[in-house]
């Protein structure tokens, strides 16, 4: 099992969710985050003062998958989430030692099937 963590643009969340659903993956956890990186921020203006808005709205997608799904999932996210402009985001892959389904107590791959 691996944990795939993708930082994506908010605007592509739905399409990625749909594409993953078509591939057969429904379980995931989503949260709102703010990101900075190469992407240039916006110039903000407030009461006549300019300032740099350099933490931008992003969405974090967390999916735990079986080892053999990792490549496919990364592919899907990359393809659907890519606009080619700076700021498309990253995918990080982490090792995972175990997963438990609270409802049943199932462990390992069973927990996420």
């Amino acid at each position: 099992m691996k944990k795939i963590e993708a930082i994506i643009r908010p605007t592509v969340l739905e399409d990625i969710k749909e594409a993953l659903g078509e591939y057969g993956i429904h379980g995931m956890t989503v949260s709102e985050v703010a990101g900075c990186g190469l992407q240039k921020g916006r110039v903000g203006i407030y009461r006549g003062s300019k300032f740099n808005i350099n933490l931008l709205h992003k969405v974090k997608l967390e999916l735990v998958t079986t080892d053999n799904q990792v490549n496919e999932v990364v592919e899907i996210i990359s393809k659907v989430g890519r606009s080619g402009e700076i700021g498309d985001g990253k995918i990080f892959i982490y090792p995972l030692e175990n997963a438990i389904r609270i409802r049943t107590g199932d462990e390992g791959d069973d927990a996420i099937s």
Partner: protein
């Protein structure tokens, strides 16, 4: 050149066929002007009372949780609407039309058959003012039973209180009924409006039970903070603003200097309530408790409502200040001792302080009050009135809620309550764009969307 309003004129011409109460047909007179001033005054006061419904909506939603916001707002919208329609259908007739034994009115349903009555101002002006009052009594209930009561159950109770429970009390006190005959004094409704709402709320909150999580396993009280205090504050200020229609408008006349007197006592009592609750909570907990301070302003207002025309400004300050101290004590009592869960403090604000304010007339009335050497007779009359309205409302509300419970049930299921009434009863969220939950169609546009334009 003279602009002519053809259409206006033709319509107004048409209206002249309807009964008008002494308005100028050919040229204004002192009498027609006085009538016009009174009409304008009562209507504007009625508009101000109307905006109190926005105040209630904000106080009730601000002091409850975000997950029940759509629900409480829906209730508020329906309360004012049902209230107006039912007061048109039956409430007005019961309150002001004829009299059966000093107990109830019996004519004027749908405002028909009452051309022989004289209200001092045009009948529709009088009706309008009374109708917005009626909905006020009803809306007090929604705050106390918030976050757990079924929408349908609440609507049914709103029908009963506006069509029947409240109008009967109005008849007793303002419609020439038995309490009026006894000299019971409740100028603008500390008892007639606020207590009727509050005692209904008391029965309702008792029968529907406390919100899940309000009392711990050990019975310990848990605070359940409101989700939007700025809205609650704005709501309180809108209520205060509307009260300037509620109290001074209850003269039903703009041609009396009493309106200035009443505005002054109203203002001073509310201010005194705010300050005394602030000092009281600050002294008690080391921190001023805004959630109670806002209630304290309302406590002062409810407290002065009965005696607003009868007490002096200094008397008003005393009444407001006492109400502002009674309020946190009452909230504590209901929370900790009686254990009736009232999320917004409606029972304490409108019930405790409404009863206090009504009794205070017997103490502080410049004419007839105990403290002004008027003896105890007015006070005794006031006590009788307060108790009678408590019993009437309590019994009626109990029967009504029990009936409703039997028919549709009072309370949502545990699952629905935990999830929040907005999702379970409405499928809608108050802040649908803040969270990710809206999913497929929510805060985020899919790329697919890009194509369709």
């Amino acid at each position: 050149m003279n602009i002519k309003y053809f259409c206006l004129l033709s319509i107004l011409g048409g209206l002249l066929l309807f009964p008008t109460v002494g308005f100028a047909a050919d040229g204004p007179t002192a009498e027609s002007n006085a009538l016009a001033i009174n009409t304008v005054w009562v209507l504007i006061a009625g508009f101000l009372v109307f905006i109190m419904h926005a105040g209630f909506a904000l106080v009730e939603s601000g002091f409850t949780r975000a997950k029940n916001t759509v629900n409480i707002l829906t209730k508020n919208m329906m309360t004012i609407s049902l209230g107006a329609l039912l007061f048109f259908a039956t409430g007005f007739a019961i309150a002001f039309g004829g009299d059966v034994g000093g107990f109830i009115g019996n004519k004027g349903f749908f405002l028909t058959n009452i051309s022989d009555m004289d209200f001092g101002i045009p009948m529709y002006g009088f009706w309008f003012f009374q109708a917005v009052f009626c909905a006020t009594a009803a809306t007090i209930v929604s705050g106390a039973v918030a976050e757990r009561t079924k929408l349908s159950a609440y609507f049914l109770f709103t029908v009963i209180i506006t069509a029947f429970i409240y109008p009967v009390v109005v008849h007793w006190v303002w419609g020439g009924g038995w309490l009026a005959t006894r000299g019971f004094t409740d100028f603008a409704g500390s008892t007639v409006v606020h207590s009727v709402g509050a005692w209904s709320a008391l029965v309702g909150a008792y029968l529907v039970g406390a919100r899940l999580g309000k009392y711990g396993k050990d019975g310990k009280v848990r605070a359940i903070p409101g989700h939007n205090i700025p809205l609650g504050t704005l709501g309180t200020l809108l209520l205060w603003f509307g009260w300037f229609g509620f109290n001074p408008g209850s003269t039903l006349s703009g041609t009396t200097s009493d309106i200035a007197w009443i505005a002054t006592t109203t203002m001073l009592a509310a201010s005194a309530g705010t300050v005394s609750t602030t000092l009281f909570t600050w002294a008690k907990h080391g921190k001023p408790d805004l959630a109670l301070i806002l209630n304290g302003a309302l406590a002062g207002l409810v407290g002065i409502t009965a005696g607003t025309a009868a007490v002096t400004p200094v008397g008003a300050i005393f009444i407001g200040a006492i109400a502002g101290i009674l309020l946190p004590i009452s909230v504590d009592l209901f929370d900790r001792v009686i254990k009736i869960d009232d999320p917004v403090g409606a029972i304490s604000v409108h019930g405790t302080c409404g009863a206090f304010g009504t009794l205070a007339v017997g103490l502080f009335a410049h004419e007839g009050g105990l403290f002004y050497g008027g003896g105890a007779s007015l006070l005794i009359t006031q006590i009788i009135g307060v108790v009678a309205v408590f019993i009437w409302t309590g019994v009626c509300a109990f029967v009504a809620f029990k009936l409703i419970d039997a028919i549709v049930g009072l309370r949502v299921s545990q699952e629905e309550e935990l999830e929040g009434l907005d999702l379970s009863e409405h499928g809608m969220e108050a802040y649908g764009d803040f969270t990710l939950k809206a999913g497929e169609i929510g805060g985020f546009n899919s790329r697919a969307g890009k194509i369709s334009t």
